[in-house]
């Protein structure tokens, strides 16, 4: 095929091709190459092998960041899935005011992470927040000092994030529930299967593509979490709620330690690939294979 055939389409896609190559591929190569140097304030080509990675894995702060991202990823993903599915099932019960409830459950998703973080920072304020309300109502045993508690602060982040993201999962699940054939419900009710049982053992497995999509989208977002934590805890108390993304940004922009930042960002990238690769393999390879047979 001569090059100039279909030339208009090639020109139209040129920006996409250039951006994909320079930004998406080029930046990863750039980061990887400079992660093998001891760059400080400016990137310099001073090869030191995998020194930066070795140093990274020895950092206590990085350990905390990785631990946090696991806790956050697990609690946030599970929380969003359970609450999102539950809300979708509730809304699917032919209730009155369905659109009102849907609007209420989804509006946090329109808010930015910064706003989400700042609102929950105020609600969970240890002096004036919900704890204080409960004390004023006579429940003096009630404790909600999560934001100032080193061990619990990360769970405060999880609550804020689930509040923001559960509605999104609900929308995905509800779309799935609405697509279920009426006949399946009929046969289930003829068989006399209890409703909650049919939801968990019959309908949920049928929604597997929705669940997988939701998990992948949530998980890819988990690794990026930055502004929510910055607004809610600023990574504190101490560095108890720091995350890999914060570690990278700190080393780039306030600690002038570029080599470390590049190394940490490459680790972030690898972990995203590890999450996505099995899914992409399933979606694009296995599925086509079975579809063709």
């Amino acid at each position: 095929m001569p090059f100039y055939r279909n030339i208009a389409a090639k020109i139209a896609l040129l920006p996409m091709i250039v951006i994909s190559l320079t930004v998406f591929v080029g930046c990863i190569i750039y980061s990887f190459v400079y992660s093998l140097t001891n760059s400080k304030l400016v990137p310099v080509m001073n090869y030191v092998g995998f020194d930066q990675y070795e140093r990274l894995f020895k950092q206590r702060k990085w350990d905390v960041a990785v631990e946090n991202i696991f806790i956050y990823g697990f609690v946030f993903t599970i929380g969003c899935l359970i609450i999102g599915f539950l809300l979708a099932v509730l809304i699917d019960q032919k209730i009155r005011g369905e659109s009102l409830f849907r609007t209420i459950f989804l509006y946090p998703y329109a808010m930015s992470f910064v706003v989400t973080g700042l609102v929950w920072k105020w609600v969970l304020n240890p002096t004036f927040g919900l704890e204080n309300s409960m004390h004023m109502w006579g429940m003096t045993w009630f404790e909600l000092d999560w934001l100032v508690n080193r061990d619990l602060a990360i769970y405060a982040v999880c609550i804020a994030a689930v509040w923001q993201g559960a509605g999104f999962v609900m929308v995905l699940m509800l779309a799935g529930l609405r697509g279920i054939d009426e006949d399946i419900w009929k046969s289930l009710s003829i068989e006399g299967v209890a409703k909650w049982k049919s939801y968990i053992f019959v309908i949920l497995p049928m929604l597997r593509p929705m669940v997988v999509t939701a998990i992948v989208l949530i998980a890819a977002g988990v690794v990026k979490v930055y502004d929510l934590i910055l607004a809610l805890t600023s990574g504190g108390p101490g560095y108890a709620t720091t995350t890999p993304a914060m570690y990278v940004m700190e080393n780039f922009f306030s600690r002038a330690n570029l080599g470390q930042a590049f190394a940490a960002s490459i680790i972030m990238f690898i972990s995203v690939v590890c999450i996505l690769a099995p899914w992409a393999f399933y979606e694009f390879y296995l599925r086509n294979k079975y579809a063709n047979n």
């Binding site: 208009a8 996409m16 989804l106 706003v115 929950w120 105020w122 309300s133 999104f168 995905l172």
Partner: protein
């Protein structure tokens, strides 16, 4: 005359239904609580905030926090409130949305109707870019923009938003165009339409629904962005989210929670407005953004 009333029998409320409504209303209250706290806190004066329950309605309405948040609150040494941030956010969002939506529509069109060898390889690369954490690309991209001379400027941040919006927008435009009947395109070809003519006279007039979805997705996404604005916009073009965070997280002086909450509401007004007026479209946008290729 028959005494049997027509129409379906009125449903009686069972214990289960009452329980269902109680539960869903409790969930709704949980989701609404932060919004409620935000609004009432912004309408109290500081004495009342210190003395009273965070959940109580204000004894007397005080509106002084709102104009203060808008035009007087301090970020560092500058006390101009959120107004400059709002103007900047508009200046960033409007061109970014127009450029990214136009470019992605063109991409989607070329991919759906004018495939050439290798086009889908680059599309795959582009989609892969949607999942790379920003932290990996921020620094090299900053270097590229520096080289182009647009780092820390309005064109710089617009380019960044265009780049990062492209994968998902191209995907939804491509999927929409691929679902159009191919005969339509063939007929236009037989009538002598070329790449550009078919795009302007056949495709664009049919693209209204998907364009609305794309615009909603981009307006909320860009307005809510924090990280990219922080790094690429420069000091003079800081978006509203960055300024909000600066206003609330001041290290010195007395924290004015009512001003903070007014500022938080002001920042989320645009996405909330988009959400409430667009309703179903917003949901469609989310679902479209979530669908994989």
């Amino acid at each position: 005359m028959s005494t049997i009333p027509k129409g379906p029998r009125p449903k009686h409320l069972t214990v289960g239904r009452v329980g269902l409504y109680c539960f869903i209303i409790m969930c709704a209250l949980f989701f609404l609580m932060p919004l409620y706290v935000m609004i009432i806190t912004s309408l109290k004066d500081m004495d009342e905030i210190r003395a009273a329950n965070i959940l109580n309605l204000p004894k007397e309405l005080s509106f002084y926090a709102w104009p203060k948040a808008w035009s007087q609150a301090c970020t560092g040494f500058v006390c101009e409130g959120l107004k400059p941030g709002f103007v900047n956010s508009v200046k960033i969002t409007v061109p970014s949305v127009i450029v990214s939506v136009a470019l992605s529509a063109l991409n989607g069109y070329a991919l759906a109707f004018w495939r050439f060898r290798g086009a889908y390889f680059f599309f795959g690369l582009c989609m892969f870019g949607a999942f790379i954490p920003y932290q990996v690309m921020v620094y090299p991209l900053l270097k590229i923009e520096d080289f182009l001379g647009i780092y820390s400027s309005l064109p710089g941040i617009i380019l960044v938003h265009t780049i990062f919006g492209m994968p998902i927008l191209t995907l939804i435009f491509r999927n929409f165009y691929a679902s159009l009947p191919i005969d339509l395109f063939k007929a236009a070809r037989i009538d002598g339409g070329n790449f550009i003519k078919i795009f302007f006279y056949v495709i664009i007039p049919m693209s209204t629904p998907i364009t609305i979805v794309a615009v909603i997705l981009q307006v909320t996404g860009i307005w809510n962005d924090f990280l990219l604005g922080l790094v690429f916009a420069g000091r003079d073009n800081q978006p509203m989210t960055v300024q909000l965070n600066n206003i609330v997280q001041v290290d010195y002086g007395v924290a004015e929670y009512n001003v903070d909450m007014s500022a938080t509401i002001l920042t989320s007004l645009v996405p909330l407005f988009v959400y409430f007026i667009s309703g179903r479209w917003f949901v469609r946008g989310i679902a479209a953004g979530a669908i994989k290729g």
